[in-house]
């Protein structure tokens, strides 16, 4: 019987993976072939989705992107034994996109059946937790600290230090909360990990709970990710059944359980204190800090809030040792970053690599330039609060500090590429509009300032008092940056200011528009 892999990843489904599975089953039946279809995560070569893989004696051979209409021809070409066909990409592991990566967080994604504990363990799963249980809580936290892992949710705060703060806070109860709100445009790594290797996130949470002496974990997942919700709930159930969760985690005597909660369509609920309010069943209004969630978090108890990627990387760090991870990267950006390549690109997808790779290499080389075939003009890095970078900054290495020095951020690692048809004044307006829509309303600069920002950019685009209005816009950005409580209002100016700085000509072309 031949094993065939067809991803259950939402991006693959969006390109017809479910219909494809039905078509393959039907075709196989009509030809009297017995096949076993495994729904794996995506390998991250998203332009090839649905990527169908066939297990052969010499390894897994891939075909993609496969449409329902291609199925009969694939059978004719003998794809069940890896036969040649125009859609064949050869052995998946040998594909240049795969070979150039250093997959640590995503090592198992796309490789295993996401819900199989047995396959998870065959591929190293569980080794991290076993080592943590051996080391004890304090030494486990020490390992995470030594690895240099920083929060992948955006702020880049050292994960080990956060855990230590929570562990040291006196309390009768402590919580582990995973931030799976992934609201940044151009990002999908959390989703891919939760759909492709959910058990690594579960294992990371167990390790965290053990390290900080907490017995309850919550995952707050955005409602736009229905597939991730199904797969992750399946993984929780499987883990409970296998004794990974419950009163006696893997026979250690340690008690831990996880509950999945679904958000309700508010970007600001990705901000950690807003998320905690939402988990408590309230409006997602941002809390003033201090107190830090590490001291007074969920229901007032000390709480670790970590991004999916931060938490999901912990098992690998414990399995391979802190030094292995710390040896990768540059400066204070240690380890690897799962980059998400999106927008107007030829090859979009997930590419995990050591920190330090130049921005231009990713855009021109790995992403292959634009899908439209036109020249690249701008790249927004780090989601809707990230700066727009011009081609002249393509030497910039992926490194938290290098980006900060250019008034930009890596954030959650998303890159959105635009070609030369982009109107940067429009994108700046969009940034302000987004802030106005998603503001929690607690502070005036963010709530009112963003709406004034939209109006001011509208005036600039109409050619009204352009110079004066640009000054006004800059002032407004300054007020928002320094008068906002959280990074929604505080960082919303970055895309606007970067557009003004790097693409000033787009704010001065009313004559052109009038002529249209």
């Amino acid at each position: 019987m031949t094993k065939i892999y067809v991803p259950l990843d939402m991006a693959a489904v969006a390109m017809g993976a479910d219909r494809l599975v039905a078509a393959i089953e039907k075709e196989a039946a009509s030809r009297g072939e017995t096949v076993q279809i495994v729904r794996n995560g995506s390998r991250g070569m998203l332009w090839l989705e649905p990527l169908v893989e066939v297990e052969t004696a010499s390894g897994r051979v891939g075909y993609g992107p496969v449409r329902v209409k291609d199925v009969a021809a694939l059978f004719d070409a003998g794809f069940l034994s890896g036969g040649a066909h125009p859609l064949s990409i050869g052995k998946v592991d040998d594909h240049p996109w795969m070979r150039r990566q250093n997959r640590i967080t995503f090592a198992r994604v796309g490789v295993i059946d996401p819900l199989s504990i047995a396959e998870y363990e065959t591929h190293g799963g569980g080794a991290g937790l076993a080592r943590a249980l051996q080391l004890g809580p304090a030494a486990t936290i020490e390992e995470v600290t030594k690895s240099g892992l920083r929060g992948r949710g955006g702020a880049g705060f050292p994960t080990g230090i956060k855990w230590k703060t929570v562990a040291d806070a006196p309390a009768d109860r402590r919580y582990v909360v995973v931030n799976a709100d992934e609201g940044d445009s151009g990002t999908f790594a959390d989703r891919m990990l939760m759909e492709g290797d959910p058990l690594s996130l579960i294992e990371g949470m167990i390790i965290c709970g053990y390290a900080i002496n907490g017995s309850k974990g919550y995952v707050y997942l955005r409602s736009e990710y229905p597939q991730a919700a199904i797969v992750f709930q399946g993984a929780i159930d499987a883990a409970r059944q296998a004794g990974w969760l419950g009163d006696n985690v893997r026979g250690s005597g340690f008690k831990f359980d996880i509950e999945l909660r679904i958000g309700a369509g508010a970007y600001v609920c990705g901000e950690e204190t807003s998320l905690l309010e939402s988990l408590e069943g309230k409006r997602g209004i941002v809390r003033a800090k201090p107190p830090l969630p590490a001291h007074e978090g969920l229901f007032g108890k000390p709480t670790v809030v970590n991004n999916v990627l931060s938490m999901g990387t912990v098992p690998m760090i414990l399995e391979k040792g802190a030094q292995h991870y710390a040896d990768l990267g540059v400066g204070r950006s240690r380890g690897t970053m799962p980059l998400q390549i999106a927008g107007n690109v030829k090859y979009g997808g997930l590419f995990e690599t050591d920190f330090g790779i130049p921005l231009g290499d990713i855009v021109n080389d790995i992403a292959g330039g634009t899908r439209s075939g036109r020249p690249v003009r701008a790249v927004q890095v780090g989601g809707p609060l990230g700066a727009y970078l011009p081609v002249s900054l393509f030497d910039l290495p992926i490194d938290y500090e290098a980006f900060a020095a250019k008034d930009s951020l890596i954030g959650h690692g998303g890159l959105v590429v635009f070609d030369d048809t982009v109107d940067m004044a429009w994108m700046a307006r969009f940034g302000m509009e987004f802030c106005a829509i998603e503001s929690c309303g607690k502070c005036t600069p963010c709530r009112i300032g963003s709406t004034r920002g939209v109006e001011t950019i509208d005036k600039i685009r109409r050619g009204e008092n352009v110079a004066a209005n640009i000054e006004l816009l800059k002032d407004l950005c300054h007020t928002m940056k320094f008068g906002s409580l959280c990074a929604l209002g505080g960082f919303a100016p970055y895309p606007v200011e970067s557009a003004l700085r790097h693409f000033p000509e787009d704010f001065r072309k009313p004559a052109l528009e009038a002529a249209e």
Binding site: A11, S185, T187, Y225, A266, N344, G348, V416, F430, F434
Partner: protein
């Protein structure tokens, strides 16, 4: 996908009761209401406020804070079109405007026959296949006018 069962207090109380074992049960209850009734009527908010021992005003504030919860029923199907940056880079703004104009709708509105509500979304995590959309819970990548027309036709059938 949002449900369409007619509202009744009895059923609302049942739903609330089945969630009372949770810490912070408000969002799970509201999602369950959406799934059952397709919206969160004021009567349900009243039941919730009583059961959770908070004021109606406070409960109402929670419902209105979140984009996903609404007080009136929407169409039988909901189409969410992403208009965030990656989808903008692939021209969603024009596509969506043309589409809305064709249906004579604004964002958030429902076709007169009640078949389809069209909403804006801000990233669906499908950014390598921009522009993208969700029809109920089903994702669709690389949408164009033809895809959208097909979705409308199916929603109306």
């Amino acid at each position: 996908m949002a449900g369409a069962a007619p509202y009744n207090d009895e059923r609302a109380r049942e739903i609330i009761k089945s969630h009372l074992g949770l810490e912070g049960p408000a969002l799970p209850i509201l999602h369950a209401f959406m799934e059952e009734f397709g919206h969160v009527p004021d009567a349900a908010v009243k039941e919730m406020a009583e059961a959770l021992n908070v004021s109606r005003a406070e409960m109402h504030g929670v419902v209105t804070f979140y984009h996903d919860f609404h007080r009136e029923p929407h169409g039988r199907h909901t189409l969410k079109i992403c208009r965030a940056e990656s989808c903008q880079s692939m021209g969603v703004e024009k596509l969506a405007n043309d589409f809305l104009a064709k249906l004579k709708l604004k964002w958030g509105e429902t076709t007169p026959d009640g078949a389809l509500t069209v909403e804006a979304a801000y990233c669906l995590g499908l950014c390598a296949h921009s522009p993208s959309a969700l029809i109920d819970d089903e994702p669709v990548g690389c949408i164009d006018m033809e895809t959208l027309d097909g979705i409308v036709a199916e929603a109306k059938s």
